[in-house]
Amino acid sequence: MNPHVTRKSGMRLPEAAYREYRGQWTALSADGTRVVAHADDLSTLEERLEADGQDPAKLIFDRVEDDDTSLGGAELL
């Protein structure tokens, strides 16, 4: 088990992520409460974390939705 990050089942993205980072990848603090870094794509985000000396294994990754409707696997067509 990854001991570094909080993984409570009810954890939610911080409100700030929805306000400021729609459509972007975000790295959250280990407790999930704070956006540490963000970027348009995952590779750029990893590079920024690396440049900042952050350990990605101790962070939580998520991409903030940029629209309101998800049709799940049905969209893969």
Binding site: A57, D68, S70, G72, L76, L77
Partner: protein, 157 residues
């Protein structure tokens, strides 16, 4: 057994007719997931969509190099996403699902794609085939219970 609450996703605009008129969120069945590469490098994603309509378990292709995943030979699988075709590549990795009380970790074949898919997907092959899943819509919770085919280890969270 793993239990998760649906999570609210704020709407950016007005509510569609399928939601209450004053609705401000969508409730979606996410689960937090950790993917572990063969060298032990991990990445934790807060939200992966538990999606029995998805054939595969899908993560961003950009992870492959970071995790040290060795891709299997390209077998020509493709997906069309929003009008564009993307290759699907497969590799072996560990996945770990946990809630407040238990943790399930197993080695499986994961699909990696460069398609800009909205969420990481926990689909049938590689994930849901190993669990009996109950969606409790009214309660906005779901339960994943490892079934007899679960190939990994179950432990405390």
């Amino acid at each position: 057994m793993l239990r998760y609450s649906y999570q609210p996703v704020p709407l950016s605009g007005s509510a569609p007719p399928s939601l209450p008129p004053l609705g401000t969120v969508r409730w979606r069945p996410f689960a937090p997931v950790t993917i572990i590469g063969p060298t032990g490098v991990t990445r934790h994603f807060q939200r992966a969509l538990v999606d029995p309509g998805a054939d595969d378990t899908v993560f961003p292709l950009e992870l492959v190099e970071r995790l040290g995943v060795v891709l299997r030979p390209d077998t020509g699988q493709r997906l069309r996403w929003r009008g564009q075709t993307y290759p699907l590549r497969y590799g072996d990795a560990d996945l770990e699902l946990s809630d407040d009380g238990a943790s399930c970790r197993w080695t499986t074949v994961v699909c990696f794609s460069s398609a800009p898919i909205r969420y990481r997907i926990l689909g049938n092959a590689g994930c849901l085939e190993f669990f009996n899943v109950t969606f409790r819509g009214a309660d906005r919770t779901r339960e994943l219970e490892p079934n007899l085919s679960f190939p990994g280890e179950i432990g405390p969270a």
